[in-house]
Amino acid sequence: MWFSTFLLKNLLRRKTRTLLTSCGVAVAVGTTIALLGLSESFENGTLSALEKRGIDIVIVERGVLDQLSSDLQENAVDYVAALPGVSKVEPALVELMGYTDPNTGNTINVLLQGWRTDSFQFAEFEIIEGRPLQEGDDKAILLGVTLAENVKKHAGDTFVLNEEELEVVGVFESFSTFESGGAIMPLKGLQAMSFREGSVTGFPVILEHGPGAPTVAEVAEQINQLKDNEGRSLNLLARPSREYTQEAMHIKMAHAMALMTSLIAVFVGGIGMLNTMIMSVVERVREISILRAIGWRKSRVVAMILGESLILSAVGGVLGAIGAVVLVSLLTKLPTVAGFMTGRIAPQVIFEGFLLALAVGMIGGLFPAYRAAQLMPSEGLRSE
């Protein structure tokens, strides 16, 4: 018989308790994997949207927490464009607007991006229905494919947002789940609709690369120093794409919430494990003493208790990972979530979740194992 077979047999003596404890770990690990995975895919989605288009720097208003609350003068784009090392820069407006389905009455949030009709951000776009935005389009909208499916709209339909009737000129698919879940409007049209003519939320910047070109940090520094003709600061905050993504408020919040919730879940799972293993040692006091008397060393007793708790937690880890993958893929199919996240969890997050499960098992098993090792081997000789 293998030692591991013996441990399994011990665990199967209390099937319900074993199952419940593993489920506790599964919930802890599953929550962690799901939340960390989602917040990670959130971050990666944002970053990859920037990187795929070669955007090196994102400019927002200095001092705001989020691009959505950023408010900049559109004409600052000319100051930036004039800087050495800047290849391309353009104004962009991001707005979040509620769309109410006229049939069901359900409201969903639509992430709207206002771009110039000739924007370089249209790279890596696939128009799968209708046509792209054109010069002169105003009350026009391009729907991301996920959004189009959710609201059941096609090219040629009318889409009412903010009491404004927009024409769906086309449906696009982007590699970015964010964009596929949102919509794109001509900058002028979006500005008009949100009553902020001449105002934008940010500027994506593509730099010149090659020998002699200034570094990303150098250009960013230049942008941060920019002043208008009257010598007033333009109040621009330029950050490399990666830094911008990591610092973005919604991403930081998502990370922090994921982390907090996971910590609580892991704590609860750990307590469950500890409780189970203590009970299991208390029940087997005499048995453990007998094992010592018939030749087991302390280390073997420790290995038994730790081994049992590690098996419990590993089973919990596997269950939790499966649960998380299923949960996330279901969750991201919901219309309200679909636009913002992919249902794919990075393998690394699953691996980390599994390690976490083992850590829970280790921590929950250490104290009971120590207690078990302290039991006297002479117990079996005591009269009952």
Binding site: M1, G295, W296, G380
Partner: protein, 236 residues
């Protein structure tokens, strides 16, 4: 009968006080057990027999005095755990088999401490079970075995790591006379054939009759030892 005279285990002024209740379980016990001997320990309930076994078998430490095994002090051994797993076997009154393991698996439990590969462990366990006449019950759980069969499995388990010294604490105490007779036959066979040193605590005169030597204990003291002339060891 082998002629053996080297001392396997010996105590010197051995005393044990259990702190809870302040019980003097053993007082100044001096005994010698020779290699290959078959010793019975007798005495009324509560006289300290089990305590003596747990001192001799390194299950517990004495309050004062010393136990020597093959001339070496137990108290200065680097690992009593290791000593126990390599040299000592134990058989209990209540068998203490693990309820969810088959006979074959129960016998393998002590072997986790040996370096035997898993196949050899199973083979050795089969061999041991055969030697106690249990080949036909290898895959039975303890609950499906008679008490006599359980004790036979427990004896096979006690031999798992080839001990030189085997202790029994009232091993026939839970058995009827006929079954007890069978178990005693096994002990006798073990003693005669493999030269294991046997120290068996018992209440039964039949058991004592099988032993080569009987040590009587009362109130934590040796009051009679048949090995030495009774006249000189009787303590007032």
């Amino acid at each position: 009968m082998k002629v053996i005279d080297d001392v396997l285990v010996r105590t010197e002024h051995l005393s044990k006080v259990y702190p809870d209740g302040n019980v003097n379980a053993l007082c100044d016990v001096n005994v010698e057990i020779r290699r290959g001997e078959y010793v019975a320990i007798m005495g009324p309930s509560g006289s300290g027999k089990s305590t003596l076994l747990s001192m001799l078998g390194a299950l517990d430490r004495p309050t004062s005095g010393e136990v020597y095994f093959e001339g070496e002090r137990l108290s200065s051994m680097p690992s009593l755990d290791r000593f126990r797993s390599e040299k000592i076997g134990f058989v209990f009154q209540s068998f203490y088999l693990l309820p969810t393991l088959t006979a074959l698996e129960n016998v393998q439990i002590p072997m986790f401490e040996s370096n035997r590969p898993v196949k050899e462990r199973a083979a050795k366990a089969k061999e041991l079970l055969a030697s106690v006449g249990m080949s036909h019950r290898l895959h039975h759980l303890p609950s499906k075995l008679s008490v006599g069969e359980r004790q036979r499995v427990a004896i096979a388990r006690s031999l798992a790591n080839d001990p030189v010294l085997l202790f029994g604490d009232e091993p026939t105490g839970n058995l009827d006379t006929k079954t007890a007779e069978l178990i005693l036959g096994l002990f006798a066979k073990l003693h005669d054939e493999s030269g294991v040193t046997l120290v068996v605590v018992t209440h039964s005169d039949e058991v004592a009759a099988r032993a080569e030597r009987v040590i009587h204990i009362r109130d934590g003291q040796v009051v009679e030892d048949s090995h030495i002339s009774t006249a000189t060891t009787k303590i007032a």
